[in-house]
């Protein structure tokens, strides 16, 4: 139970610091927006093919944005060595990861929701009717990205060239999330929409596997 209460306290801290500055939210949102606009120049957004490509582009933008977002995740704990004081204070270090990954999922989901209207308008894709399922897909996908991203940012924060290293370590690891979530989203936004429950289930399995790995090995990531 102390794991959950510690997580709640730490989550409160993460949200409080972020909503005070809104640094992560604004930068990732602007980044996704820029990518969406640039993509529309790279492909012709009016065509029928664009409708099929767009969901993949959206997920790619999310993936790149997230790898920017995770940079500061553990790095900011190094400024005043607050990671050490956290480790001294919590009874289970998994709480530190749990709070961070929940916060990251929330931030990611929030930026995605902010960007969805632009996405729908730019690529002329009506999403209103499929919104609940779409949010579910965004949630399981973003959760997977955040779990792996939080773990990897704990690794890259301790290495040289960390800004470059993080995406190099994270993006190949997230191949399954990119493959499945873009396909599930594409078939959801198709002219004849299909909800691919199998794909959503697969993403949930990905989340579960990486969460378990983080639970098992997380404490070693913080070792000094």
């Amino acid at each position: 139970m102390s794991l959950l209460s510690n997580t709640a306290i730490l989550l409160d801290k993460e949200l409080r610091t972020e909503f005070r500055s809104r640094e992560l939210l604004t930068t990732t949102a602007v980044f996704i927006l820029i990518v969406l606009v640039l993509f529309s120049f790279a492909i012709n957004p009016g065509t029928e093919e664009a409708r099929q490509f767009a969901p993949g582009l959206l997920w790619l933008a999310i993936l790149f944005a997230s790898s920017l977002m995770f940079q500061s995740c553990f790095l900011r704990e190094q400024t005043n060595d607050t990671l050490s004081s956290l480790r001294l204070a919590v009874s289970d270090p998994f709480a530190i990861f749990l709070a961070k990954l929940i916060a990251n999922t929330l931030f990611l989901l929030l930026t995605e929701l902010m960007m969805l209207p632009f996405f729908a308008i730019f690529y002329n894709i009506p999403l209103w009717s499929k919104l609940p399922v779409l949010i579910l897909v965004l949630f399981v996908g973003s959760l997977g990205i955040s779990i792996a991203g939080t773990a990897i940012s704990a690794i890259s924060a301790q290495a040289r060239m960390r800004e470059l290293l993080l995406p190099l370590l994270l993006l190949p690891l997230l191949t399954p999330v990119l493959v499945v979530s873009s396909l599930v989203t594409a078939s959801l936004l198709d002219r004849e929409p299909i909800v691919q429950w199998k794909g959503i289930g697969f993403l949930a399995v990905f989340d579960l596997i990486f969460l378990t790995a983080l639970w098992l090995f997380g404490e070693y990531l913080l070792e000094e």
Binding site: L173, P176, F210, A213
Partner: protein
């Protein structure tokens, strides 16, 4: 030293014998003809590469558990050899694909997964170059290696189930599915040969890593003086 030379000699002999067998012993495949003979080399490399990564994963787990440098050395060695083997897979694949299907690269599930696998272990080796302190390097790279390996089946199934919507061209149903018994024997022999070669390379690379770690300690002592 003597044992390593013997292992190396055995590996070379086996690889040559496997090549001989795949050219002269195995019967000609009906549809693909002589081209199918790449199969023995290509798939055997893939299997040996996968097993090298499995060994790396086991070494990573053991390192996290026991904290013995030996497992760190084994981890790098098997990752590097696995990377060499998958590089061979990624080179021979297109050489085979070009005359067979007219294109160098197909986004076939196996080939694509192998490529992602290759990228993951390139990242693993890259990470190792970017952490100075030996214990931290060993621990963090072991942890990344663990995450990378559990990602492998997820990569494979995600690509297989969602990427290849139309059935991929059936190259080989894998051994067992209608492979001629002689072909099967030659194939298994090639797999064995490739594993012995991999073992030899891993041992050589391991000795190098061991030496490097000793030199590193010496160098640090010299600097501390």
């Amino acid at each position: 030293m003597g044992k390593r030379i013997v292992l190396g000699a055995v590996a070379i002999l086996l690889v040559i014998a496997a090549a001989y067998a795949s050219f002269y012993v195995a019967p000609e495949e009906r549809t693909m003809g002589v081209l199918q003979r790449i199969f023995y080399f290509h798939v055997a490399s893939a299997w040996a590469g996968m097993d090298a990564f499995l060994l790396c994963f086991i070494a990573n787990l053991l390192y996290v558990w026991k904290r013995d440098q030996k497992y760190d050395w084994l981890g790098v060695s098997s990752a590097e050899v696995g990377l060499v083997l998958t590089t061979v897979v990624l080179i021979t694949g297109p050489i085979w694909a070009k005359p067979a299907w007219g294109i160098y690269w197909t986004w076939d599930a196996r080939l694509t997964s192998t490529f992602v696998l290759w990228l993951l272990y390139v990242s693993y080796l890259l990470l190792r170059t970017l952490i100075e302190e030996p214990e931290r390097r060993a621990l963090l790279s072991a942890l990344f290696g663990i995450f990378a390996f559990i990602d492998v089946p997820l990569v494979f199934f995600s690509i297989r189930w969602w990427r290849t919507q139309h059935p991929a061209p059936v190259i080989m149903g894998g051994p067992g599915s209608g492979l001629d018994p002689t072909m099967n024997k030659v194939f298994l022999f090639s797999v064995l040969a490739m594993h012995v070669l991999a073992a030899f390379l891993i041992v050589e690379r391991y000795m190098l890593e061991k030496m490097r770690s000793e030199v590193d300690t010496l160098r640090r002592e010299a600097e501390a003086q």
